[in-house]
């Protein structure tokens, strides 16, 4: 097996098939990035996985998963103020959490340079929205580079860090889901290991670094001036690409992954427009764009998500009196979803109906989409099944972000409103006001508890809100691939003291705290019943380790015995509680309505046994021999 860590530290030039995210990790190493911080979130967590694949003592950088994106930004900022090339990365909506500090970055003299990698998620593959973070780049006066492929992710990061160090300003590298997760062969340059210096170079005279009173305005002047310098410097940058077609009357301005979709779709076109692919999307390379507009009668701005480039390009044309026909978004659907080749073909056809011949048959699936669900053995399933027994139909349940969000789906339907990481206690507090008839129950995961859950809990204590919070503690950041968090007993650099959730709650002044393992379903049901009957703020810690993580670890252990439950068909009364209410995916239904257990899926945890009124479920051993694949 090839070692990812060895590959990342390879000192010679080489090429390898890598993910976009892995290419970024290599770029960090080559560019001498010394401090890297993040909070896990799709599509970026594989950057962290790559960085952690290098054994700690061989890492030519410090890396941490911080408690949230704002803290990660601050860690990178502090390191940069000390002269260290730094990087922070997180998912699209992570920027909302980071924003309070993030928008200040351009006001500072970031001596070491700082690159922020933002993983936007067009199509909302694994996010609660598909927000376009280019908006915040404008608000924060930060340049944005936008790669379209893993190879570009690598080279653009190197350029971003170079630019950031030269101007002592933050630079955003905007990735999107399928650029992060794209796989292709990338050629890497050589790398010379250098020791990390031990001099903290922070110099307050290099500031000002305190944006108060009139200084804030001077610092803003400096930020705007620097952005203007970047605009000039990058106007002729080789990061932009002009690709000539064979129809000189038409042009397309685009960037990122939509460029690749466009090139693909145009292979079917007889008359191909010229393409201007922008590598730096903010600030707009005005000279380059103006020349392109002037040399075409008609220009389409092909832009995924919002109309950021379109507005700037139209404003530029207005200012310069350019009469080219500029077409951006034509209907609301143009704002929505990822610009895959099929989507780009549709979007182009609205502007130039005959450009790409429609020779493809429409294809549709007869089956409904398969939503994600909780894994076999998941402690959250036991929790939802147990909690549902004691809540009235009209009670209100508030979801939060994490695997347990999936409880909103049938058959549980637990969690009826969702905003963001850690929102649940606050939202539940609002739902509890002037409400004496419907109990309010909020859910919160343990990683999210530390990430953004604490202020809502403090508020519930401080303002004495009447609700029950159920802390779904599984000991890991499960949804994004089992990263450690403050309560899990480890961090990105090894073992660490776990901060116990219960002690934190007690310290915050929570008076009513109960705890149960979620597999003890009757106990959990009783506890929740008591808790919701109380006046005021109560917490129930519903604990069970992530069984996906646990099972994977067990499978690698020699002597591992695979187990499964089975159903005694003699005893089964076909009540279907296991398959319809408890809803573990291991239970399958045959045509006669018999329930059978899929041994491929079942992990033999037995959490279902207690749910069967007919006592028809038992455990059996399936296969011996651990440590296989």
């Amino acid at each position: 097996m090839k070692s990812l860590g060895d590959m990342l530290l390879n000192t010679g030039p080489f090429s390898e098939i890598v993910l976009g995210n892995t290419a970024l990790a290599r770029a960090m190493i080559e560019s001498g990035t010394e401090v890297i911080a993040s909070y896990p979130g799709s599509p970026t967590p594989e950057i962290g996985a790559a960085l952690m694949s290098v054994p700690k003592e061989r890492r030519p950088y410090y890396f941490e998963f911080s408690t949230n994106e704002k803290v990660a930004t601050e860690v990178a900022c502090g390191a940069s103020l000390n002269g260290r090339p730094s990087c922070v990365f997180f998912k699209s909506v992570g920027l909302n959490v980071a924003a309070d500090s993030f928008v200040q970055l351009s006001l500072l003299e970031l001596n070491g340079g700082l690159v922020a990698i933002l993983g936007d998620d067009p199509g909302a593959n694994s996010s609660q929205n598909e927000q376009d973070n280019r908006h915040i780049a404008r608000l924060a006066y930060i340049p944005v580079l936008e790669p379209a492929s893993p190879a570009e992710a690598y080279t653009f990061y190197l350029e971003a860090m170079k630019l950031s160090r030269k101007r002592k300003m933050p630079v955003i590298l905007r990735m999107t889901t399928h650029v992060c997760h794209g796989k292709e062969k990338v050629s890497f340059a050589g790398w010379t290991p250098r020791p990390i210096g031990s001099v903290p170079a922070f110099d307050s005279s290099a500031g000002p670094s305190i944006p108060l009173t009139t200084r804030a305005l001077d610092m803003k002047r400096r930020a705007i001036a620097r952005l203007a310098e970047v605009a000039q410097e990058t106007d002729g940058s080789p990061l932009h690409e002009l690709r000539e077609g064979n129809d000189p009357s038409k042009g397309v301005i685009t960037a990122g992954l939509p460029f690749r979709s466009l090139v693909d779709v145009l292979e079917d076109a007889a008359e191909k427009p010229d393409i201007l692919k922008l590598g730096v999307v903010h600030p707009l390379p005005k000279g380059l764009v103006a020349d392109f507009l002037r040399s075409h009668a008609s220009v389409k701005v092909l832009e995924e998500l919002d109309d950021v480039l379109e507005r700037e390009i139209k404003a530029l044309a207005f200012d310069l009196g350019i009469r080219t026909v500029i077409v951006g978004k034509t209907d609301p659907e143009d704002w929505i979803g990822e610009y895959t080749p099929d989507k780009v073909a549709e979007v182009l056809a609205k502007t130039w109906p005959s450009l790409v011949p429609r020779k493809r048959a429409e294809r549709a699936a007869t089956l409904a989409p398969r939503p994600p669900q909780m894994c076999p053995g998941c402690g959250h399933r036991s929790a939802f099944h147990a909690i549902k027994q004691t809540l009235a139909k009209e009670d209100i349940t508030v979801a939060d972000i994490g695997c347990h969000t999936l409880g909103f789906l049938p058959p549980y339907k637990m969690g009826e409103v969702l905003l963001s990481m850690g929102h649940s206690t606050g939202t539940a507090a609002g739902l509890s006001l002037f409400n004496t008839t419907r109990k309010v129950v909020a859910f919160l995961g343990d990683s999210t508890f530390f990430h953004a859950g604490l202020p809502g809990i403090v508020n519930a204590v401080f303002n004495n809100h009447n609700l029950t919070l159920i802390l779904m503690e599984n000991g890991t950041t499960a949804m994004t691939g089992h990263q450690d968090h403050a309560g899990s007993g480890g961090n990105a650099n090894g073992p660490a003291d776990a901060i116990p959730v219960r002690a934190v709650l007690e310290g915050l002044g929570v008076k009513s705290i109960r705890e149960a393992d979620t597999y003890s379903q009757a106990k959990l049901t009783a506890m929740v019943k008591e808790a919701v009957a109380e006046e005021g703020f109560s917490v129930v810690i519903a604990r069970h380790p992530c069984m996906l993580k646990y099972t994977r670890e067990q499978q690698r252990t020699p002597g591992y015995v695979r187990k499964s439950v089975n159903i005694d068909q003699e005893k089964c009364d076909k009540l279907h509680v296991c398959v319809e209410s408890f809803g573990c995916p291991s239970f399958q239904r045959d045509e006669e309505g018999r329930v059978v257990v899929s041994e491929e899926l079942c992990i033999g945890d037995g959490s279902c046994i207690q749910t069967c009124p007919a006592k028809a479920i038992g455990v059996k051993k399936v296969q011996e021999g651990g440590g296989k694949a």
Binding site: S42, H181, E184, P371, E599, A629
Partner: protein
């Protein structure tokens, strides 16, 4: 070489990531231009997962609907969905014939997709269908069982069993490699 688009689908947890990367690496060892992309996100939690591999082009890894000359599916329901959406006429569907029932089937509101349903869709769309079901030492080897048939039937032009072998050697730890190579080579 000419274009060869592959679309893969399955249910989160079935090992589509390994299957996809093995094909990308095998094509690369065969000297072919190749790129790919997985769509995961929440998918590892038993949702649908898909992966795209394109050989002979680097324009974009995303495959257009109706243009995959080879569709690989690790599960029967997903095989039907995949073939309807992505298979090119004249192409091939290779799928592992197991069923992870979707919720609607488990709740009793829909019928399970049968091998006949898949075969009928393939006939309608002019797609050759190869179901695979075999005794395996470990259910986690179903992905490699598909790879074995792809190698034997030469379903990916220019890629031979020796290329798949090298790819698996890149990707699997020693403790897993030998067993998987045995499955690959039949």
């Amino acid at each position: 070489m000419s274009r060869f688009d592959i679309y893969m689908s399955g249910v989160g947890g079935q090992g589509i990531g390994l299957l996809s990367e093995a094909i990308i690496r095998a094509a690369d060892y065969a000297g072919l231009a190749v790129c790919g992309v997985d769509t995961h996100g929440l998918a590892q939690r038993g949702g649908m997962v898909e992966s795209f591999v394109r050989i002979g082009t680097l324009t974009t890894p995303l495959v257009r609907k109706g243009s995959a000359k080879l569709v690989l599916a690790l599960e029967r329901t997903e095989a039907l969905r995949a073939v309807e959406l992505f298979a090119a006429p004249g192409g091939t569907l290779l799928y592992y014939d197991t069923c992870w029932q979707p919720l609607s089937v488990r709740l009793g509101t829909e019928k399970e997709t049968s091998a006949e349903d898949v075969a009928a869709a393939c006939a309608r769309l002019d797609v050759r269908v190869i179901p695979v079901r075999t005794e395996l030492p470990d259910v986690r080897m179903q992905n490699v069982a598909l790879l074995a048939v792809a190698a034997k039937e030469k379903l990916i032009p220019g890629v031979g069993v020796e290329h798949y072998e090298k790819a698996l050697a890149d990707l699997l730890p020693e403790r897993a490699l030998q067993g998987n190579l045995k499955v690959l080579k039949g």
